[in-house]
Each structure stands twice: as C-alpha cells, then as structure tokens.
C-alpha cells in the first residue's frame, strides 16, 4: 500500500487548552476515510493542524505526508504538496474575484513544481468544465470570493476549488452541511470523480447520508481529542442510529 499520510501521537493546544490529545491515523493512497464525532471533539482542529493553521501549537507527535515532515512546512507549501481542506466555514474575501483567486492559486502550485503558468487560453475552459462537475453557476466566477454566497454555494465552491487544484489528500470538513439533497448528490459525484488510485479523501461529517454517496473504506470516531474507535463503513450506520453514548460508555468501562 502506498502510504500518503501518517499521524503519530499528535497533540495540539490553542490558547493554553489541549484540544488534540494523541491522534494516530494512517491514510493510504486510494482510500476514503470518514471521521465522525460529537461537536467540539476536535475534528476541525485536526484539519486546521494538518493544513498549517498557526493559532494551534503542536506540542507532541509527528505528521508525515508522502514521507515529508509536514509540520515543518508553511501552510502554502502543504497545499502545494497536495493537501486541500474544504472549510467547514469558508471565508469571505471582499474584492478578490473567484477567477483571479483560482488563477493565482493554480499558478503558485505550478511554480512550486517548476512548471510554467497555466496556458491562459485553456484556463477558462478548464474552469468551466470543473464548474459543471459541481453544478456551480458561472456567474459566481466574477464575484468576490464567497462574498454573499449562500451557504450551499460556499460549500460547492470549496469542491469546485478542489476539482481545479486536484489535491492528493482532500479533507472535507462538513462539506455536506448546508447542501440541499440534490446539491449533495452533485457534490458527492464531483468528489467521486476526482477519486483515484493516487489520492485519498478524509470526510468529516455528522451524517450517514453523505457517506452513502462517498463510500468510506474506514470510519473513525474522534472523541475528546483522540480517535477512540475505528471500523468499516457499517460504523457510520450504527452511529447514526445510536448516537455516541454507547461509545462514551464503552470508554468509561474500559478506563
């Protein structure tokens, strides 16, 4: 198996509070992992730490991506190495048009790889095609990034960016929240289309419905800063039925 991501005993704090308390996780190329867990468990924190958000401090542990020490890289280099985060709450950036933003982003990736800028003539064609994949209105291209976008449009825009940047590891943080039923299917299809033997996806979600479309190989439960349970896709169905109490109980008994 081609190992893409390896997290070992990862601890992280913010404002003096320990949020990640020893995460262990391995993701191979070609796999889809789901991470579920109650509110406040640390799921978004894990994605923030992986993508290089500086207001979290890693106090212990290590993260390897394609054999490189990820924690040594600044956020932009992690993205250029192939990590992509679909934000739980995408940020509005006034005055920066979506199309210019994407052009800059893609060319920064290419520069990092030593490639010339994306041929100007083909760029728009590629963009249009990817927009269709995720069912996003081309009018959004010239609008300011995420500004005034509806909740669903913001989420679609995240997956659209993912389609353009073609990451090796995509982390989807509650991409399903805010999407209507049709949009959910379209977006999930978009994600599936990007799936390949070389890349992997981590899907953070509270609901089974997204996992019905993006079928996970492994499901993890993140609780209180740790991964406390790992199983196959049937775990998601079980969690949907029963909630987290039984896991909490098991943990209490085990201690």
């Amino acid at each position: 198996m081609n190992e893409l991501l390896k997290i070992r005993d990862l601890h992280a704090v913010a404002d003096g509070k320990e949020i990640l308390k020893g995460i262990n996780l391995e993701v191979n190329a070609g796999e889809v992992h789901a991470i579920m867990g109650p509110n406040g468990a640390g799921k978004s924190t894990l994605s923030a730490v992986l993508t290089g958000r500086e207001n979290f401090t890693v106090t212990r542990g290590e993260v390897w991506f394609k054999g490189k020490n990820l924690l040594e890289l600044p956020a932009e280099d992690r993205a250029r190495e192939g990590i992509f985060l679909s934000f739980q709450y995408p940020v509005e950036i006034p005055g920066v048009s979506t199309v210019n933003f994407l052009k800059t982003a893609i060319n920064e990736h290419r520069k990092y790889r030593g490639e010339p800028p994306y041929p100007a003539g083909e760029f728009l064609k590629m963009i249009r095609e990817k927009m269709e994949w995720v069912g996003i209105d081309s009018k959004l291209l010239n609008r300011s990034l995420n500004e005034g976008f509806s909740g669903g449009e913001k989420k679609k825009n995240e997956i659209f960016q993912m389609a353009v940047l073609e990451p090796l590891l995509a982390i989807l943080d509650e991409t399903d929240s805010g999407l209507d039923i049709d949009a959910l299917r379209v977006v999930a299809n978009g994600v599936n289309r990007l799936k390949g033997a070389e890349n992997a996806t981590i899907v953070i979600t509270h609901y089974q419905r997204l996992l019905a479309y993006i079928v996970p190989d492994v499901v993890h439960v993140l609780y209180d800063g740790r991964i406390v349970k790992t199983a196959g896709k049937e775990l998601a169905i079980e969690l949907e039925k029963q909630g987290y109490d039984w896991i909490k109980r098991q943990l209490a008994e085990g201690n």
């Binding site: 932009e76 950036i93 933003f101």
Partner: protein, 453 residues
C-alpha cells in the same frame, strides 16, 4: 512665529499684488477678494488648531519658500505636448491646466446641447449671468475655512463647465492638472461647474507633477447640480511626495439631483480633500467614495461635510485606505441633518488597513442630527489584514506575500470597482496593483524625467 510670518507674507503679497489682480481679472471675480482676504485674516490665517484641520498639521506644508505667480505661465511649450493620457481606451475631451491656469487661454470647447467648457477667466466675460449666479455662491459651507477664503482672494483662473438644462455630455470631460516649474510654486486654481436641470455630465480630474519642486496647490471648485441632474466626478491624485494639495469641493444639489464622487489618492506628499455637499432639494442623492494608498511620510486627509437640508435625501460615504511606513491618514465625516430633513438616509464608513506600527489613522465621524425620522449609521475600522482570510488563501497554495497583496488589492477594489468608466477602472486596478507591489513610483508615465523619491 512661523505661522505669523506666513500670514504676514500673504498679507504683503495680497497688498502688493492687489492692483495686478484687479487689472488681470474680471470684476465678477475680483470683487470678492477684499472680503475673502479679510475673512482669511479674521479666521487666523493658515488654520492652526481649528476643529476642521485638527490633525492636518498645515504648518510644514506652508512653511516653505514658494513662488506665487500672479501672471499666467509663459507658454514656451504647448501644454498638450506635456502630457499623454495613459488611460488609452478612455475616450474623453481632454483639457489641461498648468499651475492652476487654464491651458489654452482662449480656447472654448463647445459640445452638442450647448455645453461649454473653457477657462474661468474667459467665462467671467463671456457668461456674465452664470458667473453672477454661481461664482462664490456655493462656498457658504466653508465660511470657517481660511484656505477657501485664501483661494477666493487670489484665484484668477481654472476650469469652467456649463452643461445647460437637459443636455447630456456624451464623452467624459478629463481635466489634467499639471504642476511644473523651475522653482517651488504655490497655485490657486478655481473651478466652476454648472449642471443644469435634468442634465448629465461626467468629469475626471487627474493631478500630475511634471518637475520635482515643492508644489502647493490650494484649489476650490464649486459645483451646482440642478434638479434631476446628475454629475459623476472622479479625481485621481498622483503627485510626487514633495507636492501638497488642498482641494475644496462645494456641491449644491437640487431636487432629485445625484452626485457621485470617487477620490482616488495614489500618491502625494500632503493631500487634503474638503468635500462639502449641500442637499438642498428633496430626493437628492450623493455618494462619496475614496481610496487612499499611502506610504513613507505621506499625509492624506479627507474632510467631508454633508448637509441634509431638504427631506428624503440619501447620502452614502465610504472611504478606505491602506497605510504603510509612517503614513498618516485622517477621515472626518460630518453629517448634518437639519430639523426639516425628515426621511434622511445617511450612511458612512471608513475602513483602514495599517501595514506597520508606525502608520496612523485618525477617523472622526461627526453626526449632528436634528430630525427624528432618519436612518443614519457610521462605522470605522482600523486594523490589520484578516487573519482567517490570510489562512484561507495560503491553504490554497498562495504564498504569504501574494496573499497579502491579493487582500490589499481586494480591499481597494471595493472602492475602485465603483468606477463606472470601465477603461479607467481597469487602469486604476492595474495602477493600484503595481503600487501595492511596490513596482510603481510617482514617475509612472511621467513624460518628463524626474528624480525618483
């Protein structure tokens, strides 16, 4: 002491130049000088600690050796060869002023609909009734401003625009104000713009410096926007760091009249913009927008005073600035709502980005509201770039420096995006991007070679 000396010098200049001024300018302009100069002195001369000029620090601006020429400059060169407009796709009627004087003294531009554009000095004889009705009639809002009085005391020429009732100016008028000389120079330009009932016009003013001397331009512009008329005004300020300018704009709007201003401050040493707007007729609308990009020791001071006199008028102000190095910006947003001005809507915002610890911003909303049925709001922010947005861009692979730039550009574009002249908007976006990248000095597109600062 220094201030007294400056005021004494003006007094001497006024008395010694009085005969010359009288002989050179028409009585319709000249008759206001004594009263104006008296007011200048009464108000204490160059403003010191007045409420209006609180943070302006005018003394260093005035305390230099300037030459004041009461004669028009000798026309050893055709002013039209001095400047080529860099907004190449923008189709405009271009007129120049040099050191405050109308470029081609006798030229009168006549456009369809009876539109006339010429020098103010020429207009004083050619259009007596318009001058009687409007010259120095719109400045009441600035009666406590000594610098406006000083302009009235010395000004002889500038631009005159008349757009008669119902006329539409198809192409924008572009006024290019040039400063050039072989010594430090002070100029007093005076403009008058009359847009009649139901008429429409667009004016673009560009300021440039063509030699590297210290310049001080103290100009005043009166604009009358008649009932149902509309005037779009753009001012692109791009001078060098030794140049100082004080621009006082007085706008009187009639019923259902609309006035849009966009003040784009790209460069200059000291820039003070006074924008006085009187909404005298019901249903008037005024939109004032401004963007300033300042670095080094530049000072930009926008003073706005909107007077809601009539009911049901709307005013909207948004000024934004990016401040680097030790630049200082001031914004004053004075809004007066008179007792009679019910159903007023007045919104105001001033947002600033500080890139260093040494840049400073003074932002002062001043709302005086004497009517009860009004909607008013004001807001100001002074801050750094949004950290979450920075991370968002970086998480897409955009490097930190580029991400900063994109955000600053986006910040500025919120104002520039309102420019309705598309080629101008594109040019401004381009200039601002270059400016933010540090690729641009004030010498950009100057046709004369000058020292880089």
């Amino acid at each position: 002491m220094r201030r007294e000396k400056i005021n004494t010098d003006f007094t001497t200049l006024f008395h010694e130049g009085r005969e010359l001024l009288r002989s050179r300018s028409h009585e319709r302009i000249d008759r206001h000088r004594e009263e104006a100069f008296r007011r200048f002195l009464q108000l204490g001369g160059v403003p010191d600690n007045s409420e209006e000029y609180k943070h302006a620090d005018l003394l260093p601006v005035f305390d230099r050796d300037y030459r004041v020429t009461l004669h028009p400059p000798r026309q050893e060169v055709d002013p039209n060869t001095l400047f080529t407009c860099n907004v190449s796709e923008l189709d405009t009627h271009v007129l120049l002023t040099v050191n405050g004087w109308f470029g081609n003294k006798e030229e009168v531009l006549e456009l369809p609909g009876g539109i006339v554009i010429c020098g103010l000095a020429v207009a004083a004889t050619r259009y007596p009734s318009l001058l009687e009705a409007h010259y120095n009639r719109h400045v009441a809002a600035g009666e406590r401003d000594g610098l406006v009085a000083l302009n009235t005391a010395f000004a002889q020429d500038g631009i005159f625009v008349h757009v008669p009732a119902g006329a539409v100016m198809e192409k924008p008028l572009q006024v290019v104000n040039l400063m050039r000389g072989n010594a430090n120079l002070m100029a007093f330009q005076r403009n008058l713009v009359i847009v009649g009932k139901g008429a429409r016009a667009t004016i673009l003013v560009c300021d440039h410096t063509l030699s590297d001397h210290s310049f001080l331009s103290n100009s005043a512009t009166e604009m009358a926007v008649g009932d149902n008329a509309s005037l779009e005004y753009y001012h692109v300020q791009n001078q060098h760091i030794e140049a100082s300018q004080i621009n006082s704009l007085f706008v009187t709007q009639g019923r259902d009249a609309r006035f849009d201003a966009n003040i784009i401050t790209l460069y200059g040493g000291f820039i003070r913009n006074n924008l006085f707007v009187s909404l005298t007729g019901e249903g008037g609308e005024c939109n004032l927008h401004g963007i300033y990009l300042s670095d080094k020791k530049q000072r930009v001071d926008n003073f706005t005073a909107i007077d809601h006199i009539a009911p049901r008028c709307r005013s909207h102000e948004h000024f934004k600035g990016v401040l680097d190095d030790a630049a200082v910006a001031t914004f004053t947003g004075r809004v007066t709502v008179r007792p009679n001005a019910q159903k007023t809507e007045a919104y105001q915002a001033n947002h600033n980005l500080l890139l260093t610890d040494t840049a400073r911003v003074n932002t002062r909303p001043q709302l005086v509201i004497d009517a009860d049925d009004v909607k008013c709001s004001h807001g100001a922010t002074v801050g750094q770039l949004n950290e979450e947005a920075m991370f968002y861009l970086r998480s897409r692979g955009i490097g930190e420096a580029e991400a900063r730039l994109m955000m600053m550009f986006g910040f500025a574009h919120e104002i520039v995006g309102r420019v309705r002249l598309v080629p101008l908007r594109e040019q401004l976006d381009d200039l601002i991007e270059k400016r933010l990248r540090g690729e641009l000095t004030k010498c950009y597109n100057c046709v004369l070679h000058c020292k880089k600062f």
